[in-house]
Symmetry: C2
Subunit: 222 residues, 2 copies
């Protein structure tokens, strides 16, 4: 039942200096599996509500193995947040088409933004980060830089260009970006994170975005 190892060796030796031996690969994928399970648990149950034993059980593995990857709950939590905020940022591949008329471009952008921001997973992440910010100060900073700041900076670039073309009144572009994103979430985000409502239906998203963009343009058009 043994296949020739030479095949594997050949692949391994194919010009790559950092040897990704089978063990390394396996280790990496195991680590990933742990983070997957842990992310789900932390997002669903919060920090205190998540147990290491529970994660180990769900993984099917033993506790010793889990500890060999993450020697403490805090470290695991850190790794989870790192991964989750990163995924959050990546999924938020926001596009601003300079060819579109400004109202269209902003509407598209805001729709994607609000859609992403209001799914239960995002709300859970917000709750987790904000709830633990006092106990894990670094984490809050990292999250802020990766998610809200990044988004606003992207938007600010577009707005800056629009100001240069005279399509928008001149103003601190980063502040303007903060105003637009804030207008988008003005009516619903507080209710979502407080648990007053659970989700934002698509038609309400469209409505909120339309109003937000209208208000924004009324204030920022030359």
């Amino acid at each position: 039942m043994m296949e020739e190892r030479s095949q594997g060796d050949h692949l391994e030796g194919s010009g790559d200096c950092a040897a990704p031996s089978r063990r390394e690969v396996r280790r990496e994928s195991r680590r990933d599996a742990i983070l997957e399970v842990a992310s789900a648990s932390f997002l669903e149950n919060g920090y205190a509500g998540t147990t290491m034993s529970g994660i180990a059980a769900e993984l099917g593995g033993s506790k010793g193995t889990l500890w060999s990857y993450f020697p403490s709950k805090d470290l695991l939590f850190g790794a989870v947040l790192d991964r989750v905020t990163d995924a959050f940022r990546q999924q938020l591949t926001l596009t601003l088409n300079a060819a579109d008329p400004i109202e269209t471009a902003l509407t598209k952008f805001c729709t994607k933004y609000l859609t992403k921001l209001t799914v239960p997973q995002s709300i859970a992440l917000h709750r987790l980060v904000i709830g633990e910010a006092a106990r894990f100060p670094e984490m809050g900073r990292i999250f802020y830089e990766r998610a809200p700041w990044k988004t606003q900076e992207l938007l600010a670039g577009y707005l800056e260009a629009a100001m240069d073309c005279g399509k928008l009144r001149r103003h601190d572009s980063f502040a303007a970006a903060q105003y637009l994103t804030s207008l988008c979430i003005a009516r619903s985000h507080q209710q979502l994170v407080s648990g007053v409502i659970d989700e934002l239906p698509a038609d309400r998203i469209r409505e909120e975005v339309d109003h937000a963009v209208t208000v924004f343009l009324r204030a920022f058009r030359p």
Copy 2:
């Protein structure tokens, strides 16, 4: 060393049907002391970070007494949030002077609003409520109704009147109120709750408010 009780009896019997006997008074003040200590601890350390034993110790009393007032940690937490959100709402005695020009009235209102909202105590309350909203669903709802909703409704009333006078363009007044409060916190609140910054200096508050009111009026003036 015993003074005559008849004095106390006289006071007690002075026409009040609901007898506030010394015991009742004492009980009430003890309950208050407990809530005071517990509030501080929950706000500073979060739900999981607060221990019943710690509260009892800080009170100087015994655990039995604490449990005789609040038979479980959950119930104590509920009472604390009730008290704290109520206090929050009361301290936010926002005034809108209909005699002032609209820009002045809104600037005054927003300054008070943002000042109150950015002190560390408010940030701690936000973190607590949002962080535990998933585990204590009722609580999130109560908080939302008492604090953000109440404020926005008050503001909406003023805006509605201003619209009636033709000082503002006609629009859903509650939505307009949400937009104004949102513009006030647009630039700093996220950073505060994430722990990127700890406080908002007075001059920055003034700046944020001025900009927010300007943007708002540009969008909502007829």
